[in-house]
């Protein structure tokens, strides 16, 4: 394999399974250097707001959801939302990442009102929902996903996060998240969003009940869609965290995470950005990931509830993130969702 040649499935599989650890990482790092300004590692200042944890999806890997009627179930009021956004703006935040459970009763108009409330009151980018939520809304309202996306966009939605991807292989999905949208539906929502002019991210949560080959299938599905639309800004893989969930599994090692990150960088030759996950892997390993193919350090996460429910709650300030990036040998730079620099002169 020469640098610059596109990897096919079997070549990628061979590299993933047998490639020597350091060389695999170094190859991925070289691809990263060739693609993006090698001096910089970007990060975004944002907050993960969960408008509700009430969910009828009941995914086995999830510790965050609460079924309807549960005492700990909540839906945020506009007031609560407003306060969180004000705080985010005062901390220099440029966006909110807003997701929730699959609420059985809230109509699409609820979400439209929520978006309008935010857009009318606050100068902030709304990076919200996910393909499974979009499919859920479409089923509740008996509308096509295209219509749902168009209405949400009109109400103020700026971009869609790539969550709910887990592993884009249906045989895995029916075991870990049987009530969630299928792999095909996830991809179709993203294709539609891209066709309507919206940027999105893509994710992978691995290390639960999937086989290693499934992870590669997931990467190739994303690559194919990106070839058609070019709408994905970044890819973020992370390892499943099992505490308080219905899946009892030994955690994926950091070595496994770094291998997966490296192969992602090599397969996804049409993605500009690969993000390291300090939220799940911790700051030390996420920093090392910057030498294994990642060029972005993710978000400052002013608030994060979903991973924390699974017992993993790392916290980093903006200053700490910048220090970590510098200590890895790069220059830290704040970006927007679309990977533009917040400060063009920095």
């Amino acid at each position: 394999m020469e640098l610059g040649e596109r990897l096919d499935f079997e070549a990628a599989w061979h590299l993933y399974e047998t490639g020597e650890f350091h060389s695999l990482g170094r190859l991925a790092h070289q691809v990263r250097i060739n693609k993006r300004p090698a001096d910089y590692v970007s990060y975004v200042v944002d907050r993960n707001i969960n408008y509700s944890n009430i969910c009828v999806c009941g995914c086995r890997f999830c510790a965050f959801y609460r079924t309807p009627g549960h005492a700990e179930g909540y839906v945020l009021t506009h007031e609560q939302l407003g306060r969180k956004i004000e705080e985010t703006l005062s901390l220099g935040g440029t966006q909110i990442l807003m997701q929730g459970g699959h609420h059985p009763d809230l109509p699409l108009s609820f979400y439209e009102e929520m978006l309008r409330f935010i857009k009318n009151g606050y100068p902030i980018h709304i990076h919200a929902f996910s393909p499974p939520e979009i499919v859920h809304f479409s089923k509740l309202e008996k509308l096509s996903c295209a219509e749902v996306i168009a209405r949400l966009r009109a109400a103020g939605l700026d971009s869609i996060p790539g969550g709910g991807a887990e592993i884009l292989v249906d045989s895995v999905r029916c075991r870990v998240s049987p009530n969630k949208c299928s792999a095909g539906e996830w991809l179709a929502v993203m294709e539609e969003a891209h066709n309507q002019g919206m940027r999105t991210t893509a994710t992978m949560m691995f290390g639960h009940l999937e086989q290693p080959r499934d992870r590669l299938e997931h990467l190739f599905a994303l690559r194919d869609l990106q070839d058609r639309t070019g709408g994905f800004t970044a890819f973020i893989p992370w390892a499943f965290q099992s505490k308080n969930t219905a899946i009892d599994r030994f955690p994926e090692t950091a070595v496994s995470y770094l291998r997966l990150l490296a192969i992602s960088r090599l397969v996804l030759d049409n993605f500009d950005n690969i993000q390291a996950s300090w939220v799940t892997m911790g700051p030390k390993v996420a920093q090392v990931a910057l030498h294994f193919g990642a060029n972005d350090f993710g978000s400052t996460m002013i608030e994060e509830n979903v991973v924390a429910a699974a017992g993993v709650s790392f916290r980093l300030s903006t200053e700490e993130i910048r220090r970590i990036i510098r200590s890895a040998g790069f220059k830290p730079r704040q970006r927007t969702m679309a990977y533009q620099w917040v400060n063009p002169d920095e």
């Binding site: 350091h22 060389s23 695999l24 170094r26 790092h29 950091a254 070595v255 030390k284 390993v285 920093q287």
Partner: protein, 370 residues
């Protein structure tokens, strides 16, 4: 292409081909070589070199030990600024275990098949050597199968001072009582400049080395540590490694080297931040490359975190330390790892990181208990 990527021409592009050649030829690296490695921005190139040495020495084996840590007291006269563990006598958080309490801790752990008791404490102003002899004898009588790795060079020097006898006498008495090996702590950084800022009351670097030499001459093996990531320079780290290497040339008494990342929480070192993963891996790798005569290198998961320690096994480390029931020293300084690991967690984490776990005793002899 992948297999040969990190080859001679890669290192030539980095300006490190002479170092690559030395490693291939098993030749010793100089101080300047070490400085160039620290200055090299290519983390994986440095790591791959260290990994080569690791594989040459130990293949894909990764050692671990079933052990128990006991801290007999945190009362300490040294007052080292990097320490969150030590307390003055009379402090509300000061503790001192009596013989009965230590016996209870040992008995409580009887159902777990440990091979090692690791015992260290603060430099207590009054506890006589006879107390320590009694403690070690008791541990050996309750668990005759266990090896006792106890008292750092700093504590040995302190006992000698209190007893008004030579360190050689202290070591001889402790060995008769049952001490099998000395742990590597108290070395910190040998640099007098650093010690005068951080731990002026502590045994000097020269003193630490001289106690280690005495122990080795008496046939008592020991480990060696380096506390890094506080105020020291890369040069001071390298000087520390070279001092250990020189003593090892003389005595061949060191078994394992343990780099320890400084944990700043609850300490009095101003301006120090926690070490980062890249810094940790680089230090481990360069230590492996510089210490060509010390057989083992530990990735101490308590301070590195388990996840980073797994990665460290690919950067020169061959030992994962142990089950460590009840670790206190690192955790009081804010270490965020668990306080113990079970045997099956240790074995699984090593296997899934791609290595073959081997249970060992403190001398790195293979153990098969089951």
């Amino acid at each position: 292409m992948l297999r040969t990527m990190l080859n001679h021409s890669w290192y030539r592009k980095l300006g490190l081909e002479d170092i690559w050649e030395k490693v291939e030829a098993k030749e010793r690296l100089t101080l300047q070589d070490g400085e160039r490695l620290f200055a090299c921005p290519d983390l994986l190139a440095v790591g791959a070199l260290a990994h080569q040495v690791r594989v040459r020495l130990h293949g894909r084996l990764t050692y671990y030990v079933m052990n128990q840590h006991i801290n007999y007291s945190n009362i300490c006269v040294n007052g080292c600024r990097f320490c969150a563990f030590g307390r003055e006598k009379g402090d509300p958080l000061a503790f001192q275990l009596g013989l009965a309490e230590i016996v209870r801790k040992i008995r409580d752990g009887l159902s777990t098949p440990i091979t090692e008791v690791h015992m260290v404490g603060g430099c207590h102003p009054e506890l006589p050597l006879s107390y320590f002899e009694e403690v070690v004898k008791e541990i050996k009588s309750i668990r005759p199968d266990v090896l006792v790795k106890a008292f750092t060079a700093v504590e040995i020097a302190h006992f000698a001072q209190l007893e008004r006898c030579s360190p050689c006498e202290v070591l001889t008495r402790l060995r008769s009582a049952g001490v099998d090996m000395l742990p590597g702590g108290g070395a910190e950084i040998f640099s007098p400049r650093i010690r005068s800022i951080l731990c002026p009351s502590k045994l000097s670097g020269e003193g630490w080395l001289s106690i280690a030499r005495e122990a080795h001459h008496l046939g008592i093996k020991s480990n060696a540590t380096m506390l890094y990531g506080h105020l020291e320079t890369h040069r001071e780290r390298l000087d520390h490694l070279i001092a250990l290497r020189e003593l090892q040339d003389e005595t061949d008494g060191f078994v394992c080297f343990i780099p320890l990342p400084f944990q700043p929480a609850n300490t009095k070192v101003e301006g120090a931040e926690p070490t980062t993963g890249v810094e940790d891996l680089k230090t481990i790798a360069i230590s492996r490359l510089m210490l060509d005569n010390i057989p083992h290198l530990k990735a101490y998961w308590v301070m590195l975190t388990v996840k980073l320690a797994q990665v460290a096994l690919n950067f020169g480390a061959d030992d994962f330390d142990g089950t460590i029931i009840e670790e206190k020293i690192g955790h009081m300084a804010g270490a965020e790892s668990e306080q113990a690991l079970t045997r099956s967690e240790l074995e699984r984490t090593i296997r899934e990181a791609g290595f073959d776990p081997v249970e060992r005793n403190c001398f790195f002899q293979k153990v098969s208990n089951y």
